[in-house]
Symmetry: C2
Subunit: 345 residues, 2 copies
Amino acid sequence: MSEKHTPVGSLGEFGLIDHLTKNFKLKQASSIKGVGDDAAVIEHTDACTVLSTDLLIEGVHFDLSFMPLKHLGYKAVVVNLSDIYAMNAEPTQITVSLAISNRFSVEALDELYAGIHHACDMYGVDLVGGDTTSSVQGLNISITAVGRAKKDDLVYRDGAKEGDFVCVSGDLGSAYMGLQILNREKHVYLENPDMQPQLDNHQYLVGRQLKPEARKDIIAYLKEFNIKPTAMIDVSDGLSSELMHICTQSKVGCHIYEANVPVNNDTYNQALEFNMDPITTALSGGEDYELLFTVSPADESKINTDDIDISVIGKIVNKDKGLTLQTRANHLHKLIAQGWNAFKN
Amino acid sequence: MSEKHTPVGSLGEFGLIDHLTKNFKLKQASSIKGVGDDAAVIEHTDACTVLSTDLLIEGVHFDLSFMPLKHLGYKAVVVNLSDIYAMNAEPTQITVSLAISNRFSVEALDELYAGIHHACDMYGVDLVGGDTTSSVQGLNISITAVGRAKKDDLVYRDGAKEGDFVCVSGDLGSAYMGLQILNREKHVYLENPDMQPQLDNHQYLVGRQLKPEARKDIIAYLKEFNIKPTAMIDVSDGLSSELMHICTQSKVGCHIYEANVPVNNDTYNQALEFNMDPITTALSGGEDYELLFTVSPADESKINTDDIDISVIGKIVNKDKGLTLQTRANHLHKLIAQGWNAFKN
């Protein structure tokens, strides 16, 4: 980050918006009007608009003592795009609104927007609007993502059927373990500022926390092989919680095999070091932004798990059977959805 | 408000969203999927999607010591719909995201949502999504409004032409005077809690501040008489600031007649009581949510100011002439855009 520290107030609200957004070029043909009017305009022909929104609060969703602003900007965009992909839709535009306290300089916001810009480039989406205002305390980021899909291609949470296979992309629990490591190093540092953070051995886990990706590639793979999931959701709150959403809305149960749940070796070893059961990090740790979906048996046979990092972790069963985890030792446990509760944690 | 005070954490995040949104029925045919999936889905045929977003922060944009939560919910929706109307579009859906500190109870949020619900009913828009999370301090509300319009009907800020007439709906400065009164009574109360607020004589001004309306009726009138403005914006930051936006983006100047700027009698008298020049409240006071627009001479002749509260306040002139106010005493003043700067005020 630059050494300069230009007060945000020196640019004025409109000057600040211009300054932050002037390098964002519109790339989507559907973006008719971007930043700079009362509203953005998006043109459509025969497709549906898909809309998702998130509000991220400093001290609740992110900790700037270990989250660089550039990464934060990137992640804030990615978590919204992940919701659009989870509809089997293509993200096309975003709006970004910020509330910032006076401790933030223009240079700090430039870093944040550099991350937002990078995410827009990586995923081919346009920044088309937003709002910038002051906050009483801390940084708040509100992002709305817009996507499009043909009506028939959309995948909701409520379409899982008995006999369907339960699939998940990537691995689970790593972002949560990354957060535990960052928190540990932060506390070590607070107690002894001369200690340097020990992060070199944890690049994968820390990276999963600080710079997650949305699984655009999985959506492309499903399309390529003509696989339409019956239900889909992104894993933001932990596997248990997302399974509960799908099962509740689809009025079904599920049977999950612990042995099939993808847990990275680093996550596994780090969990043991923290005296945690590794499967718990997958079930209850959040922020993986992997895709959890169900497919019919016919579609399941099209998935080549050698080609793409999709794991088949269980099956959809009758509602009366509930949500069950079969452990490696063949014990059966009821799955309890303890999604991240922002009002209790 | 009810006497009950149910902690928000007792419902959990998903329980809270269900609780707050269960009475919102989808009314728009285009709302295919509302709250409850990764994203909302909006269907389109030949129209454009129009998208606007706002972030409202307690202590910056509103003061709960005199703003009832129900009014706040109503106003938060209305200010976003106003942006959609200012595109000459019809608002159809909104998303609402909240960040709330633990001092808010479920009953308090019910009040807020009662206001949101009332606004949705009044303007015929659907609540289709959002996010609910905790804040470190205070209440933050992020609203995104979606609207639609045929591409040819859209009105931007950049279409004003030399010779066009400058028009504004309703009256200006009243919301600002209402805020001054509320602030005065708050300070009287803080100094002497036994004093009751003196608001009875100020219903119009206080009402303009606490419960503004978006000018749906003006858009309907323009449509009925086949008038398409050349440029349009809603008055959220004050007339000067909005004129500057239109003139800058349209690359024109304007000549405004003070005598034609609509200032309500209550606003006029109250300004004098506060030792302010009444025209200043119109030029620099914000939150009126009236529509400021320019029309061609042919369209201007179709506006019957006996039928609808539209005032013709000036003309668009060549860019070189700048932005000028001609006072009642026929003095000429340069208009200075001192829109509300959230980072300095």
